[in-house]
Amino acid sequence: MSAQALDAPVRAALAGLLLAMADDEFVLGFWDSEWTGIAPLLEEDVAFASLAQDEIGHAQALYQLLADLEGGDPDELAFGRRPEEYRHARLLDHPRTDWAFSVARRFLYDTADAARLDALAASAYEPLAGVVAKMRREETYHLLHMHAWVERLATGGQEPRARLVAAMERLWPDALCVLAGVDLLVEAGVLAEPLAAVRRRWLAGLAPELERLGLPSPPATPPAGCRGPDRSDDFRWLWEQFTMVRRSDPEAVW
């Protein structure tokens, strides 16, 4: 299915989904890149920075898809909007905080994103299916890495465990926001099942691991305002950081 074959409402919903996914990956990439130089060990520093770079790469591919669909420039989409125009899930409104918090956030995000990518793998919108196939291959390693870290923090003694549990309790409601909204796309064959069903599958898949490690369970429903326009001061700070160079000279050519 090409962009021309889409009805206007489906096309708008697809654009919304692409923007949400791109902003998720983009903002997470910037938050996690904040660990560069200060991660708990040198090897993890390299690994976590590499994961963060991967997310920026995914965001780039998704902004490009959106630009192909709606016109516009991927860089302008990434850097040229006001903070309240970003559509990332509330999960990504939290600051980096401590290591356990960043691990918990990335674990919740990567597992939810994997469920979302599963539901898009056979998308009737072929450009998206192609990008998703590539993202899934990279996310395999992200998942392995985050499962490994959650396991170690959960079983690694009193303090790491306490910090991990506190982080998960704080993040769970906003994590549900990653899989909330847009059901129009199911009828059009862009998405295999409603996001609420994807969310249930994600949570059912996580339940045995959470139970085995004695980690907090999710609440029943996501909060209101899952993807803006209200944005936290922490995100506004991050936005100041990642748009700083561009804002200093918007006409500059690189």
Partner: protein, 105 residues
Amino acid sequence: MPGQPMQVYEVFRREREGGPMQHAGNLLAPDPELATHYAREFYGRRQESVRLWIVPRAAIVDLDDPDLLQPPFDRSFKKPVGYSTEIKAKLAQARSRAGTEQVEP
């Protein structure tokens, strides 16, 4: 991670199918699983490897005894160099006789 001392792992990589496993470098990790992840990051994330071996340095049998490796007498006759020099000369002579002389690349 309490109770998990960091260990050094030596990493070997194969650059392309059919190539040899060559020493790439080393890293520190608390266990083999994270060692695998870090090896992937250090020696595989730019698609520069098709296979990695990740070996705890403690598993390597180390030999650096000079009596075994650098004996004091002349051992040049154990090297194939002399033989190969001679055989190359003979080959050149034979080619010359047969009129099939080749220019060395």
